[in-house]
Amino acid sequence: MNRLKSWVTYLQVAPLALVFLLFLIVPIATIVVVSFFDYNTTQIIPTFVLQNYEELLLSPVTWRTYLQTIQFALITWALTLVIGFTVAYFVAFHVRSPTIQTVLFLLCTIPFWTSNVIRMISWIPFLGRHGLANTTLMNLGLIDQPLEFLLYSEFSVVLAYVHLYALFMVVPIFNSMMRIDRSLLEAARDAGATGWQTLVNVIVPLCKPGIAIGSIFVVTIVMGDFVTVRMMSGGLSASVGLMMANAMSLLQYPAAAANAVVLLLLVLFIVAAMMRLVDIRKEL
């Protein structure tokens, strides 16, 4: 009887375990294995060499690119956090009617009705040398020369990141905020807390799980991105993802795989550090 029961249990977890095995464990294991292969211009040679990692880690380009990517991630994280928290705060606490809350929340998701690429491209006519922004500023007489930094720069990359990923911050923080018992805010007011003190002492601590989840989303996405950097920097900026994409276009799969493993370890480390700071389990 007991043996039968344990079989049933295994049977019940089998589908999910299979999905994980097939779509998570197998691909990652493949990447790890390939990262130790050798290659030349025409073929990949199944063997075991550490050369891919040596070349990667000893190259100053790698370090510069990683630093650049981390910089993008940090700036984007800070901006999406401030914007996401503000938007979530407004919708959760300033808007009283639940109907309007829902409407505003749906409004936030409208950009997601089109693809990432289209949303990025739509910035180009706006930011370009003869784009809307420059033309307007020049017609107003505020500038004589078109602003060069608007497009194909680090500025435009970060702008696109923030535009694309702010919602990933808004949603979990909003979710955390909606779980805050409103009587806690009254209790804080009753204890003489000002609006700012309530924010710092009550709302932010109780939003920590939401902030952590949003941060994980934004940081992991930006760390792995290559499309945005390629399109918005016009090839002037690099990112780890772009490095891998370039290696793959040269059919240097083992080099790209080694890079992927290093990036995966770095991102896992960042996520683990965030999970140590905040217990997100109660939010799930």
Binding site: L184, E186, A187, A188, R189, D190, A191, G192, A193, N201
Partner: protein
């Protein structure tokens, strides 16, 4: 101790759009008294409390504490403190920090505020749990921490919003006693919102019965029970039979509007099997509907044609002297001096 102030509500009104939640109520709560706002849900008692606390803006009228008009002051500047229905303890702070919260907001340094918080926790016998989070405490313990948090600001008035409703019945009676003894010790006014007449009777110096945004009666508990001001109060307080005056053959008070009602306490009723009238008493013919044994008393429900079900509360000895069974025709009688004529 400094002389504590009275609280006075003057024509206090709260409207939400067209709906009137509190309809121009006036009330004086003497200093150092335990006042219970009693009424069914939606009667405006919680809104009244929240207006006194400053968490709800009064549409019209004034709230006076001592010599000061506090109607528009922020909650923390009023000298009131509120204990919330679900206690509203901060889930991310331990008991000490919860209690010390208002001191922190005032900029008291960490050591001072924590030691004062621990002192306050001692007063509610919770110092042993100072380092625990609210989620690690039982309902009764959470309530004590909430009390300590409210009292650390040295309020002149403590406002309690249904403080006992989240507790199980046994704990409720225990905490009820503690609240009363704490109020006596502190000598400050407590204003306690409840929908339980037992709670109000047991605790209050002043019971304020509210209905539909108005005060039906504000009086000491004995007076509310023995001389209910209206049919609503008599019915809500329980333990009364409310009859049309004509049925009870009571003297009709001049000036009373409409068809006046009378109330007769259920424990002043006599019940006997049969149909013969009792000398010197007023009586009604009915049929016993239910007999409930409640320990020291027996509750008999009686159907009388044309009236709501009446009840008689008999001591066990009186019941045994002439037992009744459901379905039997009975004679329900009372002495004319036990008839209380109701105002409305």
């Amino acid at each position: 101790m400094a002389k504590q102030p009275d609280i006075e509500l003057v024509a206090l009104t709260k409207r939400y759009g067209d709906a009137v939640a509190v309809d121009s109520i006036s009330l004086r709560i003497p200093a150092g008294s335990y006042c219970c706002l009693l009424g069914p849900s939606g009667c405006g008692k919680t809104t009244t409390l929240r207006m006194i606390a400053g968490h709800e803006e009064a549409t019209e009228g004034d709230i006076i504490l001592g010599q000061e008009n506090i109607t528009i002051l922020p909650p923390a500047a009023r000298g009131t403190a509120m204990m919330f229905q679900s206690y509203a303890l901060f889930p991310h702070l331990d008991c000490t920090d919860n209690v010390a919260f208002s001191l922190k907001m005032r900029g008291v340094d960490k050591d001072t505020r924590r030691s004062r918080a621990v002192d306050m926790l001692k007063r509610v016998h919770m110092d042993a749990y100072a380092g625990r989070l609210p989620s690690q405490l039982s309902g009764g313990q959470q309530q004590r921490v909430a009390l300590a948090r409210a009292l650390i600001t040295d309020p002149q008035v403590l406002l309690l919003d249904e403080p006992l409703s989240a507790l199980d019945p046994f704990l409720r009676i225990k905490m009820r006693e503690e609240l009363k003894s704490l109020q006596t010790r502190l000598g400050i006014s407590f204003i306690h919102v409840t929908h339980s007449q037992d709670e109000a009777m047991a605790l209050a110096d002043l019971v304020v019965v509210m209905n539909a945004g108005k005060i039906e009666q504000a009086a000491p508990p004995r007076e509310v029970f023995n001389k209910p001001a209206s049919a609503f109060v008599a019915r809500f307080i329980g333990g009364h039979n409310v009859l049309p005056a004509a049925v009870a053959r009571a003297p009709v008070v001049p000036g009373a509007d409409g068809a006046p009602f009378v109330a007769i306490r259920a424990d002043r009723m006599s019940v006997q099997v049969g149909t013969s009238a009792v000398a010197g008493a007023t009586s009604l013919q009915g049929v016993a509907r239910s007999v409930e044994y409640l320990g020291s008393t027996v509750q008999v429900g009686i159907d009388v044609i044309g009236l709501d079900t009446l009840s008689a509360t008999l001591s066990e000895a009186r019941f045994d002297a002439s037992p009744v069974r459901p379905g039997e025709p009975v004679l329900l009688s009372w002495n004319p001096e036990d008839v209380h004529v109701l105002g409305r």
